[in-house]
């Protein structure tokens, strides 16, 4: 039984975490590698168990833990199996990578015990089959990851990242708690089975949607709940960043799908609209934020927000289609969203591993100090190039397939009768196209500035290739991104039981189509064949190379840079990341970020250099969070008086509160 195996895996991870903490294995040389190796093995076993269990009928395992009248229920169905595969595959990859990467860690004892616990927490969330277990696991996952964010707590910004993260995580859990409370109803049916049977009233269901969007959305990083994500994800060590960005956001997606598709009953059409709008806003804002960053890990974290936005647009479309009983379209949108979640976990892990390798090699995270790394780190550069192409949604890699499917789902929106959806969805489609194009710009910028060009600092000029294990993991992920991109039919077929379970319908079987073409509906409507496109490109490139080498001159000479005849030897004359983003900042920044450029020109005769200052305003932070934080501080200042009262006053306050509460109840009745 897959549930039992998975529970044993979780137990093994927890035992490992406790053992490491107790024995202090981490501090000894090589101890960390042993822990990472063991974690990788357990995660791989769990991944295989989940793969094997995706088709099996879902049986509940009940352990005598937690609330006595419910116990702790665990179950694996198709949906949780898919996410278990994503989580454990990502965890296995990150653990393997960490065997090499973790050697450069200065304080392994602050990371190694929490690392298996974090993975165990994510697994438990996916296995939970009642609200109580789910919330405990959710909180456990949040706290373990919080400890990992604070691993390097002496770095200046990390404590603030930890504070913002724990606040947002607690808020998210609180929202989910209320959502499950509403779903459980007055009788307290906390088991998912009971929730599935009882459909909440429309007003309650609407409230559940809002609460789940707050709870799961804040973990996934939906705008405007994203503020913690670009602070916390980069603060952790790179393999943990990869897990948080690539995998933990998927757990949040799972929570949303579980609550809204499975537990909340039949959807209303406007649910879809709300989710689509939030997703579209996240996609655009995330990528724009990413374009204006120069910290490599922070860029990747913002790009996670963009991709999560993409996933949520797919989920919202699916809800809207399902509300209108357009089953085929709903299945397509849901599959596109889940497929994108899987793809994102692959290429985002790859990118974070690459960022970690760069960080180890140069000791820096600011891409403005890098350059020319393709010469010093050729294998990392190759893997990162594949990741950049995949994340920019370019064929024939995997990112394109899921975005193509999302666009196909968007093109079906005119079938829906509601005018708000008919007009809104195409607008979101244009927004997504904008986000995709900007993502390509963002990753040209990242790759072009960090890996190409000339070194901008001595550290970049002295960089060295990452260790073999890390490089191997990165290259394997790059190959996987390509394979999933050219053979998407098999992945989609493997995901079919999920849609079958949630929506009662499935995509047409893709593996049976001739030439492995992807055909969502009919061939005359739309089709895409990654395999053929890949073979075509390979064949034409080889043909061109062959022809050129046979017919054209093969003479090659190395010479100094041409640069229109005036090459400047200083690497400072290269285009920087800030200047690369300038045209886009001019076009979008003034509106969305209140970007202001001021030129400070010294008067004639003054020898100071002229200065250009760019100021960007994070609109979400200044309009939403800053007033909130200010209000909390003022309230805390006022309430501070309460701390220094005499015992008599406290007693009278308690008495007054009691009387008021009793009166409220009396009037209520």
């Amino acid at each position: 039984m897959p549930v039992t195996i998975l529970l044993w895996c979780v137990l093994a991870l927890l035992v490992l975490a406790v053992a490491v903490a107790a024995v202090g294995l981490a501090r000894r040389g090589g101890g960390a590698s042993v822990v990472y190796g063991a974690t990788a093995a357990i995660a791989a076993a769990a991944c295989l168990a989940a793969l094997a269990g995706r088709g099996a009928d879902a049986a509940v395992v009940r352990l005598p833990l937690g609330l006595p009248w419910i116990g702790a229920n665990f179950r694996v169905d198709a949906l949780s199996a898919l996410f278990l595969v994503i989580v454990n595959f990502g965890a296995a990859g990150a653990s393997l990578y960490a065997i090499g990467y973790g050697r450069h860690e200065t304080a392994p004892e602050r990371i190694v015990p929490f690392y298996p616990a974090f993975i165990a927490g994510m697994n438990l969330v996916l296995l939970a089959d009642d609200a109580f277990t789910f919330l405990i696991s959710w909180e456990f996952m949040s706290l373990a990851s919080w400890a990992l964010v604070l691993a390097h707590h002496r770095v200046a910004d990390n404590t603030r990242a930890g504070l913002v993260y724990i606040l947002m995580a607690s808020f998210g859990t609180f929202a989910l708690l209320l959502a499950f409370g509403l779903l459980a109803g007055p009788d307290g049916g906390y088991a998912f089975e009971a929730m599935r049977a009882a459909h909440p009233a429309p007003a309650h269901a609407a409230l559940v949607l809002v609460l789940v969007l707050l709870g799961a959305g804040s973990k996934a990083g939906l705008v405007p709940l994203h503020v913690w994500l670009p602070l916390a994800h980069p603060a952790a060590p790179s393999h943990v960043s990869a897990l948080m960005s690539g995998v933990m956001t998927k757990v949040a997606v799972y929570a949303f799908v579980r609550a809204m598709f499975d537990l909340a009953g039949p959807p209303d059409w406007w649910w879809g609209l709300a989710v689509i709008a939030l997703g579209g806003a996240s996609a655009l804002m995330g990528v724009l934020y990413a374009l204006f960053q120069s910290d490599i890990k922070r860029m990747l974290a913002y790009s996670t927000i963009e991709n999560v936005g993409f996933v949520f647009v797919g989920l919202g479309l699916s809800l809207a289609f399902a509300a209108n009983h357009l089953d085929a379209a709903a299945v397509l949108a849901l599959t596109a969203a889940l497929f994108h979640a899987l793809n994102h976990s692959l290429f985002k892990s790859l990118m974070f591993f690459g960022a970690g390798a760069v960080l180890t090699a140069t000791g820096k995270r600011d891409i403005e100090t890098m350059g020319g790394l393709i010469h010093r780190m050729p294998q990392t550069a190759l893997a990162m190039l594949a990741g950049a192409v995949a994340i920019s949604a370019l064929p024939p890699f995997n990112g394109f397939v899921s975005e193509w499917m999302t666009f196909q789902a968007i093109l079906l929106s005119p079938q829906m009768p509601q005018w708000a959806l008919r007009l809104g969805v195409p607008a979101v489609g244009a927004l997504l196209a904008l986000a995709v194009a900007l993502a390509a710009a963002c990753f040209v910028r990242l790759y072009g500035v960090a890996f190409l060009g000339r070194p901008r600092s001595p550290a970049a000029a002295q960089a060295h290739e990452a260790d073999r294990v890390s490089v191997g993991v990165m290259l394997a992920l790059a190959v996987l991104c390509l394979l999933v991109g050219i053979l998407p039919g098999y992945v989609i077929d493997a995901m079919a039981p999920v849609a079958q379970g949630l929506l009662g319908a499935r995509m047409p079987r893709q593996a049976a189509v001739a030439w492995l073409t992807l055909v969502p509906f009919s061939e005359s409507r739309s089709s895409y064949n990654g395999l053929l496109v890949f073979l075509f490109i390979a064949a034409s490139a080889s043909l061109a190379a062959y022809a050129i080498h046979r017919l054209a001159s093969r003479a090659t000479r190395r010479a100094p840079i041409w640069d229109c005849g005036f090459p400047d030897p200083s690497p400072a004359t290269q285009y920087t990341a800030a200047s690369f983003a300038q045209p886009i900042r001019r076009v979008f920044g003034t509106l969305l970020f209140r970007a202001r450029e001021t030129v400070e020109m010294p008067p004639p005769g003054d020898l100071r250099p002229a200065r250009l200052t760019v100021r960007l305003d994070d609109v979400v932070w200044t309009t939403l969070y800053a007033p909130l934080a200010g209000g909390v501080r003022i309230a805390a200042d006022r309430l501070n008086v309460m701390q220094f009262l005499t015992i008599r006053r406290y007693l009278s306050l308690v008495f007054a509160a009691l009387v008021i509460l009793l009166m409220v109840i009396a009037i209520w009745r």
Binding site: S526, S527, L532, R557, P560, I561, P583, R586, V587
Partner: protein, 323 residues
């Protein structure tokens, strides 16, 4: 037998686009020159340029990486594949269904991705400025393109070019405002994507105004030949796309039997295609001669207009269907 026939037709199309591409550039240049009362270079000058470049020694910058050497092949291959998938003289080719309109646009995006990276490889300011501006133009052109795709998909119920072309010659199409708006929008996107006036000037030698030329500044010899050929192919692709969507007459649908009539139809289709391309080149030259290049930061307005036209087209379609 049918498979071999289909393969041959597909191969003919692949060869045709590569062979015709420099001619499109040559014809546009010639017409432009004549409009300016110059004699202009001969029509075959682009072929000569490519051959001459291919024969020359390639000069690589000292710090050029492997990406710089691989990129021309990738750019050329992606553009070529995209051009080979757009119906030119016949629809329903063997591999037409391998990629729909969205995938063709994305393939061009792959080519652009590598071009922009190649521009940044050597680490010069011109390469960077070109890549950065190209990224801005592309990020605005892509949503406009998606809106065009959306209008067409709404009308035809497909993103497959062969299906759309078949619909456009059928009597169901009628005269629609949406199609007019989509055509204008597509032309604007095509002008921006191909670095033509008023967005970019293909003949400029003033560095600060260059976009496409700035990115390929460091290329020479056989690499430059490939990139020039890819640029011509892209222009041909957009002309073929407009022809296939809005002038689909003469396109030969897939035929089950192979006879003299089929071969004649293919010949006629080819002639019609060449005529359409010629018409497109003349119109492009006329437009380019009549208009001045705009500042870089007016390009967003231009492409924003294309996006809004596409959106308006989709809206009009909704309204006309709703009533």
């Amino acid at each position: 037998m049918a498979l071999i026939r289909d393969l041959v037709v597909q191969g003919v199309q692949m060869a045709l686009v590569v062979l015709l591409a420099p001619l499109v550039t040559g014809l546009t240049r010639k017409v432009k020159a004549r409009l300016l009362r110059r004699r202009g270079p001969p029509l075959i000058q682009p072929y000569r340029d490519i051959v001459r470049l291919a024969r020359k020694e390639t000069v690589l910058a000292d710090n050029a990486s492997w990406l710089f050497r691989v990129a021309p092949y990738m750019i050329f291959a992606a553009t070529w594949v995209a051009a080979a998938l757009v119906p030119t003289f016949a629809t329903g080719l063997l591999f037409n269904w391998a990629a729909d309109l969205i995938a063709i646009v994305a393939l061009l995006g792959s080519a652009r991705f590598f071009l922009a990276l190649a521009g940044m490889d050597v680490g010069t300011s011109f390469g960077g400025i070109g890549a950065s501006r190209e990224a801005m133009i592309a990020s605005l052109a892509e949503p406009a393109m998606i809106m065009i795709v959306f209008s067409l998909a709404l009308l035809v119920g497909s993103t497959q070019l062969s299906t759309i072309a078949a619909f456009m010659v059928s009597p169901d199409v009628g005269l629609r405002v949406t199609l007019g708006l989509a055509l204008v929008s597509l032309v604007m996107v095509g002008i921006a994507e191909n670095a033509r006036i008023p967005v970019d000037n293909p003949a400029t030698h003033l560095e600060l105004t260059m976009v496409h030329e700035a990115m390929v500044l460091e290329y020479s010899g056989r690499h430059l030949a490939l990139i020039e050929l890819a640029a011509s192919l892209k222009l041909l692709l957009y002309l073929s796309l407009i022809a296939c969507l809005f002038l689909p007459w003469g396109l030969v649908p897939r035929r089950p039997e192979l006879s003299a009539a089929t071969v004649a139809a293919y010949g006629l289709g080819g002639a019609a295609y060449v005529a359409k391309l010629g018409f497109g080149c003349v119109m492009l030259a006329l437009f380019e001669t009549a208009i001045a290049k705009m500042r870089v930061f007016r390009v967003p307005t231009f492409l924003g207009a294309a996006l809004m036209l596409g959106f308006l087209g989709a809206l009009l379609l909704f309204v006309s269907r709703g009533l």
